[in-house]
Amino acid sequence: MSVPVALAMILAGGASPELSVLTEVRSEAALPFGGKYRIIDFPLSNCVNSDIYNVAVLTQYQPRSLNEHIGIGRPWDLDRAHGGVHLLQPYLSRPGETGAWQEGTADAVRFHLDFVQEQSEDLVLILAGDHIYKMDYRPLLRYHVEQRADVTIAVRSVNPYEAHRFGMVTADPDGRVTQFEEKPRRTRSTLASMGIYVFPRDLLVHWLTGPGQTHRDFGREVIPAMLEAGKRLYAYTFLGYWVDVGTVQAYWEAHMALLAETPALELHDPEWVVHTKSEERPPVLLGPDAHVETSLLSDGCRIEGTVIRSVISPGVHVAAGATVKDSILLTDADVRAGAVVDRCIVDKHVLIGEGAHVGSGDENTPNRDMPHVLNTGLTLVGKGAEIPPESVLGRNCVVRPHVKARTWSDRMIPSGTTVPA
């Protein structure tokens, strides 16, 4: 059987407050990952590696980073005359219409149904822009057609303690979905929806304009209602690595997992290249006293000090005598001589002054402004911030983006503190 042809719609508009200062300046889909990538690179690359060359990216929250990154889609071979990548922005459809801001995944798609109807593909593949995984969508599309399904949902098994974070699916032995529970407190199901759906185009259009026209969200409303209406919903089980880095801790853990000798997410796989927009940068330069172990180093970085178990983005400079441990350093961060960065996520263009110690001590007081977000000992430094020389920051601290060194009133920042802009 030949592979059915699908239009992919990547939902990349959601705000992600759980990621604190990292998503203050960009959408989660545009968040850097794995040194040189952004999260959107994974679904985009999955599409082209699965021969899907008609891809819409639906943006809303802080879309500028994403727009600049995707451009006309050249790194993914999506700059083409037919199909290619379409960046779909929110817009006001009629003068005076209120509430044009999209309020969920189904709402976002409904906004662009006119676009969907113009496309020639019979199937629509709905994807999330903020998941990290490598997946060939072709078997999923084939399965959908074979089962003569109305909707196919990609699922993966999760531990029972994680079930409350996901839409949980129960399926009969043939794979037909019998129950769908959105973020249940208790469930016997272990199959979590990955937020990946295959719809026949006409059914999607019909449902979102007809019976489900008030539905805002696929997981919360559309899928349960379709099940209720007796539609043929099927679950397709995916066995590979998949992660939704929706929290600071998950983001950090996913990076640390890349450092394993045989990581679950293998980036060095010539058969499944993850494409991204790379700036032209020289090779990595390691100085005479550099010491680097168990780390990823992106091009353009210069390491003269010590880097251990860390992921380093392009253009980062670690000066002689500085130590970076168990951390993520994003593009062009500059760690000056003698500084120590321990269990931190440091955003782009951050300057860490000489002898500063970021992530210090054993005191694990949760962050006072967002105790539910930062309570695992990770310290965050926002984009473009400056850490003054010889200052000491504890755990679970947040430095707001663009804080200048001269505005710091105190150089001893205890655990759990937010340094305001």
């Binding site: 040194g35 032209e280 390691l286 172990e293 168990t294 180093l297 091009d299 992921v311």
Partner: protein
């Protein structure tokens, strides 16, 4: 250039720059062109000062006080011609190319800028000017120069300044993941590209994209190109290894102290101790390979059989 003059006339440009494709330097051509215009020159030649003992390797320009070229001597034996060396970078008034090249081509079948065009133009009274360039410039025309130029990149104050964001050197890059250094990796004073996986030791070396250095392997003072695989326990010392080479486990590549034994086939070029391995060659496990050895491209494991477990210095495979 003479054979492509019709292309030049189609361009409608009034100045033609002639550059070499095999020099390594960063140069803003705009001041040179401005100088060319200011002097109303027919040709402006970029020159650099070289030590007097090296003048015999270059075309040497002798200039008057206005910078006008009065004499050009290709590789002079005497040391009285000055120290301004021709860099092979020329700005020509387009009309001059049309006037001169067809005539000179009648005289010389192997028409060369340095040997024929420039000296004849001086003799015919054209206005030739020398433009001084003070930056870093290398013609990596020998194995030794290529190796030295690569090693110079590792100096934190490297004259080439690849890390200058204001003068980016562009290239076609394949999409490769960040370089990965494993828990046993020890890398110092080196340059490594995207897609490398280093699990052994790398010292004073340049690794191209996708190079794999196995645990226990050592790469020292070497240049290793794209996707070469270095097996466990292999030791590379002062070697230049081309793309897609397989260096078997336990191989010693570039070993022994007899660095002075020149290569028996290419003795002119390989006499400084550097061993060179051609593209996609396969080197069988546990063999020892000496200095100044050349392994030709696509050589296979079987090609080493007659050597047993040691290839002496100066051999060519």
């Amino acid at each position: 250039m003479w054979q492509n003059l019709d292309y030049v006339s189609e361009r409608r440009a009034d100045t033609v720059m002639v550059l070499s494709g095999d020099h390594i330097y960063k140069m803003d051509y705009r001041p040179l062109l401005a100088y060319h215009q200011e002097k109303e020159a027919d040709v402006t030649i970029a020159v650099m000062n070289v030590p007097v003992e090296e003048t015999h390797r270059f075309g040497i320009l002798t200039v008057n006080r206005q910078g006008r070229v009065v004499e050009f001597t290709e590789k002079p034996k005497e040391r009285d011609k000055g120290t301004l060396a021709n860099m092979g970078i020329y700005a020509f008034r387009a009309g001059v190319l049309h006037e001169c090249l067809p005539r000179y081509a009648q005289q010389y079948s192997d028409l060369d800028f340095g040997h024929h065009v420039i000296p004849t133009m001086i003799a015919e009274g054209y206005r030739l000017y020398a433009y001084r360039f003070d930056g870093y410039w290398v013609d990596v025309g020998t194995i030794q120069a290529y190796w030295e130029t690569s090693m110079a990149l590792l100096d934190p104050d490297s004259p080439l300044q690849l890390y200058d964001r204001a003068w980016v050197v562009h290239t076609r890059s394949y999409e490769r993941p960040p370089a990965k250094l494993g828990p046993q990796a020890r890398v110092a004073r080196s340059m490594i590209c995207n897609g490398c996986i280093v699990r052994g030791r790398v010292e004073r070396s340049v690794l191209g994209p996708g190079v794999y250095v196995s645990p226990g392997a050592v790469v020292r003072e070497s240049v290793v190109m794209n996707d070469t695989w270095v097996g466990p326990g292999a030791v590379l010392d002062r070697v230049i290894v081309d793309k897609q080479v397989v260096v078997g486990a336990g191989v010693q590549l570039g070993c022994g102290n007899d660095v002075g034994v020149p290569n028996t086939t290419y003795g002119d070029h390989l006499r400084t101790g550097i061993t060179v391995v051609g593209k996609a060659a396969h080197i069988p496990p546990n063999i020892r390979i000496g200095r100044n050895v050349v392994v030709h491209p696509h050589v296979d494991e079987e090609d080493f059989v007659s050597y047993g477990d040691e290839v002496p210095s100066g051999e060519t495979i």
